[in-house]
């Protein structure tokens, strides 16, 4: 009785996945976070600020592009790992089935030779 209830509790408590939207945001936040990054100091004087705005805008554009490229590479990497995990699952099941087949053939051959013996072949 105890084991039955335990089985049922285990089945009920199988892990659930978060929403896709949350997963996406989680990945983006965790990967973008870089602990210990030093805060930038103010380096420019008042007269150099207009130029600084252009520089800042250009840098921001490059950063956005870089972040986009990085996210793309990260997605590719996640996909690569996921596909590798899939390949391993398929390989594991293929090997299992191969060995199950060995057992099956042995049992089948034994049954065939027993039948032959009984029929006097």
């Amino acid at each position: 009785m105890s084991q039955e209830i335990e089985s049922r509790i285990r089945a009920a408590l199988r892990p659930v996945a978060p929403s896709e939207d949350f997963s996406r945001k989680l990945l983006a936040r965790v990967v973008a976070d870089r602990p210990g990054r030093p805060k930038p100091r103010r380096l420019l004087s008042a007269s150099a600020r207009p130029l600084a705005w252009w520089l800042t805008a250009s840098l921001a554009a490059c950063l956005i592009l870089a972040v986009g490229v990085r996210q793309h590479l990260e997605q590719q990497r996640v996909q690569q790992s996921g596909l590798e995990a899939r390949r391993q699952v398929l390989e594991a099941l293929r090997m299992t089935s191969q060995k199950l087949n060995l057992a099956y053939q042995a049992v089948k051959n034994q049954s065939t030779s027993l039948t032959d013996e009984e029929s006097g072949v």
Binding site: I9, A12, L13, Q75
Partner: protein, 188 residues
């Protein structure tokens, strides 16, 4: 796959420790389901679970160098998730378990789902103290041994066993109560 062992996530962990963000993303993908499920069933609502899940992985980011293997990572994530959830619950007087619209997200929607048992389980979880709740989840959701649970929660092993015993007895009484009600219905 020739020559030595191939543990995919150990490899990713090594890369993540070396600073590869893509590898970190792989680890988050692989472990988020377990962390989120623990957080959800400890805290009771999706919003709180999502916040805690994010906090745990952000904390991981700063502690990667201390993680030695994927197995250690799994242990670390579960320990941090449950301990942080216990702390949060202790600061609140009573946890609000899920609203009806979130109920479907609380349990996995499998073909063999038992809605009555799920309801009893949800009631049990909300009645349990935070540490007892953590023990139940680590045992039956995460399949940990009582020894591992004791180490993870820094709790004496007899306390772990006692929590499990009482939880199972409560579940048995609830499910037998269900059965008894059915018998009485059928006999009338």
């Amino acid at each position: 796959m020739n020559g030595g062992a191939l543990d995919l996530l150990d490899d990713e962990l090594a890369r993540a420790r070396a600073g590869e963000r893509a590898a970190l993303a792989v680890l988050v993908q692989a472990h988020q389901r377990a962390v989120y499920s623990l957080a959800l069933r400890m805290l009771g609502t999706r919003d709180l679970a999502e916040d805690l899940t994010q906090d745990v992985f952000m904390q991981l980011n700063g502690n990667l160098t201390a993680i030695e293997s994927n197995k250690h990572l799994g242990f670390w994530l579960r320990r941090v998730t449950t301990n942080r959830a216990i702390d949060q619950l202790r600061r609140r007087s009573r946890v609000q378990m899920t609203s009806l619209e979130d109920e479907q997200a609380f349990f996995s929607a499998e073909d063999d789902a038992d809605p009555l048992l799920q309801r009893h389980l949800r009631d049990l979880l909300s009645d349990l103290s935070p540490p007892a709740r953590a023990v139940l989840l680590l045992r039956y959701q995460e399949d940990l041994d009582p020894t591992d649970i004791a180490q993870m929660l820094d709790m004496p092993i007899n306390t772990v066993k006692s929590h499990l015993k009482r939880s199972l007895e409560t579940m048995r009484e609830k499910t037998l109560g269900m059965q008894s009600a059915r018998c009485e219905d059928s006999s009338t």
